[in-house]
């Protein structure tokens, strides 16, 4: 195992971490703000992939799909927000689990009706459908693009949350929604904006992942558990937690796969159990 092996696997780990980050950041911020466990978040990821494939097939334009698909998913998210999510905010976590679980089932079968049971693929755009050689390795350009995309979003979210007024409002509302409301923040509108933003990121993750992974009807359920693990390991509702969690899981799964293949199926679960036993609130809890 030489340096190029480590570099390659580092890039693989980064690429996976960034996808996990795009998914988990929406879930964790929605939870942190609204105390809402949205299990259907992963279904929106699936919709992102399928809409991306359809738009791309209809127009032949990958980048159009890349922009349109998150927008469509956001619209669906907005509809869900007004029909269900908003109503369920005070209904208690058990009911939220039940409703969003129901949504998973509904969206799953709607996707089956719309796109069929056969797995679909999406080609990477021509500009990125090659490999890039550097430092003695060659690596798919599209994967480098995903790493760059994830890092960009990660850093801009950091800046927005830490430096801007809306970031301060979000942080205040995570700390104490009542207090935030009394300071004149329109909490309801803020929730809606954040929820839509989370949906857009889920859709973006879906369409971004489609050229690497095929789109299948089970992709939502399969990604749900790793995403929840990221969110929980990091600590619910915390941006830093989602970053730490997705990096930990991305690196653990990638290096576990090549260094400890016989254990790789359970490594994540072992880590999850150990972290929760030692730090029952996750690594970087949002509050307290």
């Amino acid at each position: 195992m030489d340096a190029s092996f480590w570099l390659l696997q580092f890039l693989n780990a980064m690429q996976y971490s960034m996808l996990l980050f795009l998914l988990s950041i929406g879930l964790t911020v929605i939870f942190g703000l609204m105390h809402f466990v949205n299990l259907a978040h992963a279904s929106l990821y699936m919709l992102g992939a399928y809409f991306g494939i359809s738009v791309s097939a209809l127009t032949g334009q990958f980048w159009l799909a890349f922009i349109l698909s998150p927008i469509i998913v956001t619209l669906i998210g907005a509809i869900l927000y007004y029909t269900l999510i908003d109503r369920m905010r005070a209904a208690g976590p058990m009911n939220q689990v039940l409703v969003t679980f129901g949504l998973i089932f509904v969206i799953l079968d709607l996707v089956r009706l719309g796109w069929g049971d056969i797995a679909l693929g999406l080609d990477a755009p021509d500009a990125l459908a090659h490999t890039v050689s550097f430092w003695g390795i060659s690596y798919p350009a599209y994967r480098l693009f995903i790493i760059a995309l994830g890092l960009t979003i990660m850093i801009s979210m950091w800046v927005v949350l830490a430096r801007t007024q809306i970031g301060a409002m979000i942080r205040a509302s995570v700390e104490n929604a009542d207090m935030a409301a009394s300071l004149g923040i329109h909490v309801g509108r803020l929730f809606f904006v954040v929820f839509c933003f989370g949906c857009a990121l889920a859709g973006l993750a879906g369409v971004a992942a489609a050229p690497i992974f095929s789109a299948t009807t089970t992709m939502g359920i399969t990604i749900l558990i790793p995403t929840l693990i990221v969110v929980v390991i990091g600590g619910l509702g915390s941006l830093e937690g989602a970053i730490a969690g997705s990096l930990i899981i991305g690196f653990l799964e990638t290096f576990g796969a090549v260094l400890l293949p016989s254990l790789s199926a359970v490594l994540t679960y072992i880590l999850l159990a150990v972290i929760l036993v030692l730090r029952p609130q996750g690594l970087i809890p949002a509050r307290g």
Binding site: F5, A119, I212, S214, T254, F255, A257, V258, S264
Partner: protein, 386 residues
């Protein structure tokens, strides 16, 4: 929706049955299709059903067979419950189907004890026609060993010295790779390395691909199916891996090859059926299938089709009831889209050609180019006692 139509079809045929009391008519054979229609394997269940129905319809014998469909959801306990229902409540004469080996394992003892003939149209577990064989279980699809052993020998004979293998970490994956490796090393090859990827969880093969390439092996041999196959082939392509890719033919099945795109070009694989076989039987089958469904048939639709042919042949040879079908099935032989087929009475597994093929770009997209045929591949009698 499928089963709604099936119900209507059943109701119609029952009505005909009642009329037929006054008429000297065919004996009615009741067939239970036991396949996944929801969950991971839904696409396979539908493909097999299409093939089976086509065989019966082409023969013009739809009145003779009444069909009950049940969804196994790829869950062994559900499969067993549905098998019990078909046999004990619907009183079917014969069952056709079973996609996953887990479901077959769950049903096996019940099928054996209830003496209901079962025509396996997919599940490839070696043990089902080996150690756990039964006079009532006949397989017209393939066994995991049957597809991969010939490829092991063939690759060694064609100058490949070292191979790195990859497959999902579950029973079928292990069986496929083991039979390949055994044949490959017996013919003088060497396994450079081997990874089993976590079943159902692995989406990113990047780490494994880079590992396989750096092993310096002459070739990579893999078994992946369904969504896993698409991911694997696409990622193989995107990493621009120079080591040639070989695999069990499910890797580039016609069902998935379109989604794999250009990355599939040049992948070499072995399978018991490819739709480009140049035989009159296959041409007729492909044309009929294209006319009906507008897509190329896959090995799964052929398995369903051949299950239908085998069933009709058994009914013709013996009779339409449970006992006669069970007795006749192991001796069935006919020529189908796959070529000449027979059931080996020693194991009840099918004896068939295995085709080595390349995926190439044809006039209307990706297609299969036959490279070599290994004729009449027969499984050893590995511990099967009827």
């Amino acid at each position: 929706m499928k089963s709604l139509f099936a119900k209507m079809a059943m109701a119609t045929s029952l009505g005909l049955g009642m009329i037929s009391v006054q008429l000297p008519a065919h004996a009615d054979t009741k067939v239970g299709l036991i396949l996944p229609y929801t969950g991971t394997y839904a696409a396979l269940g539908n493909a097999i059903t299409d093939g089976f129905n086509m065989a019966i319809e082409e023969a013009g014998r739809t009145d003779e067979f009444s069909i009950v469909t049940e969804d196994t959801e790829a869950k062994p306990p559900v499969g067993l419950a549905k098998a019990r229902k078909l046999v004990l409540q619907d009183k079917v004469d014969v069952m056709v189907g079973v996609v996953s080996s887990g479901v077959l394992g769950a049903m096996r003892d019940f099928v054996h004890q209830s003496q209901t003939p079962l025509i396996v149209a997919n599940a490839g577990n070696n043990l089902a026609t080996g150690e756990n064989c039964s006079p009532y279980i006949v397989r017209v699809s393939f066994s995991n060993g049957q597809i991969n052993r010939p490829m092991g020998t063939w690759m060694a004979e064609n100058g490949i010295k070292t191979v790195y293998t990859l497959a999902p970490d579950y029973s079928a994956g292990h069986q496929m790779i083991e039979s390949f490796s055994a044949a490959f090393t017996a013919a003088g090859g060497e396994i450079a390395g081997s990874d089993f990827t976590p079943f159902g969880q692995t989406k990113d093969f990047g780490p494994y691909l880079t590992n396989a390439q750096s092993s310096g092996a002459d070739a990579i041999f893999v078994f992946y199916a369904g969504g896993g196959a698409i991911n694997f082939v696409k990622q193989y392509g995107s990493f621009d891996i120079k080591t040639p890719l070989y695999g069990s033919g499910f890797l580039t099945s016609p069902l998935y090859v379109a989604a794999e795109g250009d990355a599939a070009i040049g992948v070499r694989a072995s399978l018991h059926y490819i739709p480009t076989l140049d035989t009159p039987e296959n041409k007729a089958f492909v044309d009929a299938f294209m006319a009906k469904h507008g897509t190329m048939p896959s090995e799964y639709s052929v398995q369903g089709y051949d299950a239908g042919l085998a069933l009709m042949a058994a009914v013709d040879a013996g009779g339409a009831d449970k006992k006669n079908i069970a007795a006749a099935l192991p001796n069935v032989s006919y020529v189908g889209p796959r070529g000449a087929l027979e059931i080996d009475p020693a194991t009840n597994n099918i004896v068939q050609n295995i085709y080595v093929y390349d995926t190439v770009m044809g006039d209307d997209g990706l297609t299969q180019k036959l490279i070599d045929t290994i004729p009449s591949v027969r499984d050893d009698v590995a511990g099967c006692q009827m």
